[in-house]
C-alpha cells in the first residue's frame, strides 16, 4: 500500500500529468464560474479529449476539472450573487453579504483556501479507508434515501435567518418546483400546463440560475448610481494582495476544526450515492452554524459560513469517488461520468479496479492532490480579474449577467423553453426577495424534492402501501435510525436556538 502511494506520487509529479491537471483546473475554473455550467457538463465535455491520453493522464485531467469547477462557482457566488454551480449556493449566503460589506477580497481568499484544504483532507479517506467506507454506500435503500431527503429539508429551518415560516415557505416553493412534471412511479403529469418541456420537471440548474440571476439583474438595473460604489471600500484595490492571502490562510487555520468537520461532512455526503456537492456544502454550513459560538452572525458576511460551505463542497468530490473506485457505484452525476471515462479507458470499475490497475488508480488519486493545489494560484488570479467586475457600470454588468443566464439555462437541455422557465422561476425569486423570503431553502427543496418524492413512493410500493410496516422499517433499519436521530436533533436544536434568540431579544427590549 505504501509503495503504491509512493509510486502514485512519483508518477503524478511527471510533467505530463502536471500539464494535464493544469489544463483541467483551468477549464474547470471557467466552467465553474459561469452560472449554468456545472461540473457534470465540464467533465462530460473533457472525456472525449482524454481518448488520446494514457488513462492516468485522462483521469487526472478530469479530476482537476472536477475539483476546480466545484470551487470556482464560489467566485460568481461572491461577486455577482449567482452561484456558479449548485455546490456553491451555501457560499452565497455569507459570500454575497461580505461583498455587500465591501469585503469581497477576503471572501474570495477564504473560499479559495478553504476549498483547497477541504479537498486535500477529503482525499485521505479515499486513499486509506475507501473500501470500508464504500460498504456503507451499499446499505442505502429507498427508506434511507427518503430520510436523507427529510434530513436535508430539516436544514432549511436553520437556513431561514429571521422568519422560520418564511424559510419553510421557501423550502415548500422549492419542493413544488421539484414536483412539477411526471410522478416518478406513476408517470402522471403534475403542474405542467401542457408544456412538454416541463414533463421532466424544472431542471435544478435552470431553477437555480433563475432564482438568483433574475433578481440580481433587476436589482442591478434598479439602482440609480452607475457603479457599485457602495461595494467598494475606500482603499479598494481590484487585486488580491499577498497580505490578504496570508490573512486568509491565518483565518482558515484559526478555524481548523470548522474546516476539518466540514470536510468530513462533505466526504460522508459524497459517499452516499445520490447526494452531491450541493448537499455537502449545505449540510457543512448548517452544522457549522450549529456548532458555532455566534450562529446569529451566519448570513451577515461571516467567515465561518464561507469556510464551512467551501470546504464541505470541495470535500464531496473525493467522497463521491470512494464508492465509484471501490465498487463501481457512482456517488453523484459527475462520478457517473467518471464511470464512463473509466470504461472508455479500458479500466473495469468494480471490486477489482485497485487490484488490476493499482498504478493508474494511485496516480489518479495523487493527482487529485495536485488539482486541489493548482486552483489556488489560478483561482486567486482569476479572482483579481473578477473583482474588476465590481467596477463595471451596472447596466453593462446586468446585460452580461443576463446573457450568461440565458446561455447557461439554454445549455442544459438545448431547449429555448428553458430560458422561459428560468424567467418564470426568476420572477418567483424576485417576488421572494421583495418579501424577504430567503432563496437558499428553495434551492435545497428543488435539489432534494425529486429524491424525497421518488424514494417515498418507492418505499411505499416496497411495503405495498402498508403504513405500519413503513414506519417500522423507518425505525428499525440502522442507517434509517441514524438519519432519523440526526433529523430530530436538528429540528429540536433549531427550535431551541430560536427560543434562545427570542428570549435574548425580549431581554434586550425590556432592558
Amino acid at each position: 500500500m505504501i509503495e503504491n502511494i509512493f509510486y502514485g506520487l512519483t508518477s503524478a509529479l511527471q510533467p505530463g500529468i502536471l500539464l494535464v491537471v493544469f489544463i483541467g483546473v483551468l477549464l474547470g475554473m471557467i466552467v465553474g464560474t459561469l452560472p449554468g455550467l456545472t461540473s457534470t457538463l465540464g467533465v462530460a465535455i473533457l472525456v472525449p479529449l482524454t481518448f488520446v491520453m494514457r488513462p492516468e493522464a485522462g483521469l487526472a485531467m478530469l479530476g482537476g476539472m472536477y475539483c476546480a469547477s466545484t470551487y470556482s462557482g464560489a467566485i460568481s457566488a461572491i461577486l455577482i450573487g449567482i452561484p456558479g454551480t449548485p455546490a456553491n449556493c451555501a457560499t452565497l449566503l455569507d459570500g454575497q453579504a461580505m461583498t455587500k460589506k465591501g469585503e469581497a477580497n477576503q471572501a474570495l481568499v477564504l473560499a479559495t483556501i478553504a476549498s483547497c484544504i477541504g479537498g486535500l483532507i477529503s482525499i485521505i479517506p479515499l486513499l486509506f479507508i475507501a473500501p470500508a467506507l464504500a460498504q456503507v454506500s451499499l446499505k442505502f435503500g429507498s427508506f434511507e434515501y427518503f430520510l436523507l431527503a427529510i434530513f436535508g429539508i430539516s436544514i432549511i429551518a436553520s437556513l431561514a435567518e429571521e422568519s422560520l415560516e418564511k424559510g419553510l415557505i421557501s423550502g415548500i416553493i422549492g419542493l413544488f418546483l421539484a414536483i412539477v412534471g411526471m410522478h416518478p412511479l406513476t408517470g402522471f403529469l403534475r403542474f405542467t400546463y401542457g408544456r412538454t418541456s416541463l414533463f421532466d420537471g424544472v431542471p435544478v440548474i435552470v431553477g437555480m440560475v433563475g432564482l438568483y440571476s433574475i433578481p440580481e439583474i433587476i436589482s442591478l438595473i434598479s439602482k440609480k448610481k452607475k457603479i457599485n460604489s457602495h461595494l467598494i471600500p475606500i482603499n479598494f484595490s481590484a487585486r488580491i494582495t499577498f497580505q490578504e492571502v496570508i490573512q486568509g490562510i491565518k483565518e482558515v487555520y484559526r478555524q481548523k476544526w470548522n474546516v476539518f468537520r466540514s470536510s468530513i461532512i462533505g466526504t460522508i455526503v459524497g459517499i452516499i450515492p445520490g447526494a452531491g456537492c450541493s448537499i455537502g456544502g449545505f449540510v457543512a454550513y448548517d452544522q457549522a452554524k450549529r456548532f458555532s459560538k455566534e450562529p446569529e452572525k451566519f448570513g451577515t458576511g461571516w467567515a465561518e459560513g464561507i469556510i464551512a460551505s467551501e470546504s464541505g463542497n470541495n470535500a464531496t468530490p473525493a467522497g463521491t469517488l470512494i464508492p465509484l473506485l471501490t465498487l463501481g457505484v457512482p456517488g453523484n452525476a459527475v462520478s457517473a461520468v467518471f464511470l464512463g471515462a473509466l470504461i472508455i479507458h479500458g479500466l473495469r470499475p468494480g471490486a477489482d479496479l485497485f487490484a488490476g490497475s493499482a498504478n493508474i488508480m494511485y496516480t489518479f488519486i495523487m493527482s487529485l492532490f495536485l488539482g486541489n493545489l493548482f486552483f489556488v494560484p489560478i483561482g486567486l488570479i482569476i479572482c483579481s480579474y473578477g473583482l474588476k467586475m465590481l467596477l463595471i457600470p451596472r447596466a453593462i454588468l446586468a446585460s452580461l449577467v443576463g446573457l450568461l443566464a440565458i446561455m447557461g439555462s439554454f445549455t442544459i437541455r438545448a431547449n429555448m423553453e428553458d430560458v422561459l422557465i428560468m424567467l418564470a422561476v426568476g420572477l418567483i425569486g424576485y417576488a421572494m426577495v421583495r418579501n424577504d423570503v430567503p432563496r437558499a431553502p428553495a434551492v435545497l427543496g428543488l435539489v432534494l424534492g425529486t429524491m424525497a418524492e421518488s424514494e417515498l413512493a418507492r418505499s411505499f410500493s416496497i411495503v405495498r402501501g402498508d403504513y405500519w410496516i413503513f414506519i417500522t422499517k423507518l425505525i428499525t433499519r440502522p442507517i434509517c435510525l441514524i438519519l432519523l436521530t440526526l433529523t430530530v436533533f436538528s429540528i429540536l436544536q433549531g427550535i431551541q436556538s430560536r427560543q434562545k434568540k427570542a428570549k435574548r431579544n425580549m431581554n434586550k427590549n425590556l432592558s
Binding site: L41, L175, I218, I396
Partner: protein, 171 residues
C-alpha cells in the same frame, strides 16, 4: 418581522393563502397515488401562511408597537428611496424591462437565430437601461455574445438554434 412594513407582510400572507388554496385545488384534482406530496405540501403552505397572518394580526391587535429599529429590508436591497411607498406595484420598470426583453428574446430566436438574437438582446437591453454611448453599445453587444457563442458551440459542442430567416438566406 419589521413592524413598519406590516402591511407588506399582510399582503404577502394573503397572497400566499390564495396561492396555497390554488395549489391545494390543483393537487387534490390529481389522482391520489400521484399527488401525495403536493397535497401535503399545499396543506403545509396554507398552514404556514395562516400562521404568518395570525402573527401579523396579533401584533397589530397588541397595540401597534412601532419599534424604531432599522433592519436591512428589501428597501435597501433594491436601492429605492425610503420615503417612497413600499406598497408599490410589483410591476416596476426594471421588472418589465427584464420580463419583456427575455420574452422577446425567446420569441425572436426562431427567426434570426441564437447568435443574432443574443446581440440584439444585449443592444436593446443596454438601450433600455440608458446607455447612450455608441461605442459601448456596439462593443458590449457584439463582443461578449460572440466570445460566449463561439466558446459554447466550439468547445462545448452545443448546437444553438439558427433561425428560420437565416436558413432561408443561406438557402
Amino acid at each position: 418581522m419589521n413592524y413598519k412594513l406590516w402591511r407588506k407582510d399582510l399582503y404577502f400572507a394573503i397572497s400566499m393563502i390564495c396561492i396555497s388554496l390554488y395549489l391545494m385545488m390543483k393537487s387534490f384534482s390529481y389522482p391520489a397515488d400521484s399527488s401525495f406530496f403536493p397535497r401535503i405540501l399545499s396543506i403545509l403552505l396554507l398552514a404556514l401562511s395562516l400562521i404568518i397572518l395570525l402573527k401579523i394580526l396579533r401584533r397589530r391587535i397588541e397595540g401597534g408597537l412601532l419599534k424604531k429599529h432599522k433592519e436591512q429590508t428589501s428597501i435597501e436591497k433594491f436601492g429605492m428611496e425610503k420615503h417612497k411607498s413600499r406598497n408599490g406595484s410589483i410591476w416596476k420598470k426594471p421588472v418589465i424591462i427584464v420580463f419583456l426583453s427575455l420574452i422577446l428574446y425567446v420569441g425572436i430566436t426562431p427567426l434570426i437565430g441564437f447568435f443574432m438574437a443574443s446581440i440584439l438582446f444585449m443592444f436593446v437591453f443596454l438601450l433600455l437601461n440608458g446607455v447612450r454611448n455608441w461605442l459601448v453599445l456596439l462593443v458590449i453587444s457584439i463582443v461578449p455574445a460572440t466570445i460566449l457563442y463561439f466558446a459554447f458551440s466550439i468547445f462545448f459542442h452545443i448546437l444553438f438554434p439558427t433561425g428560420y430567416l437565416i436558413e432561408c438566406w443561406l438557402g
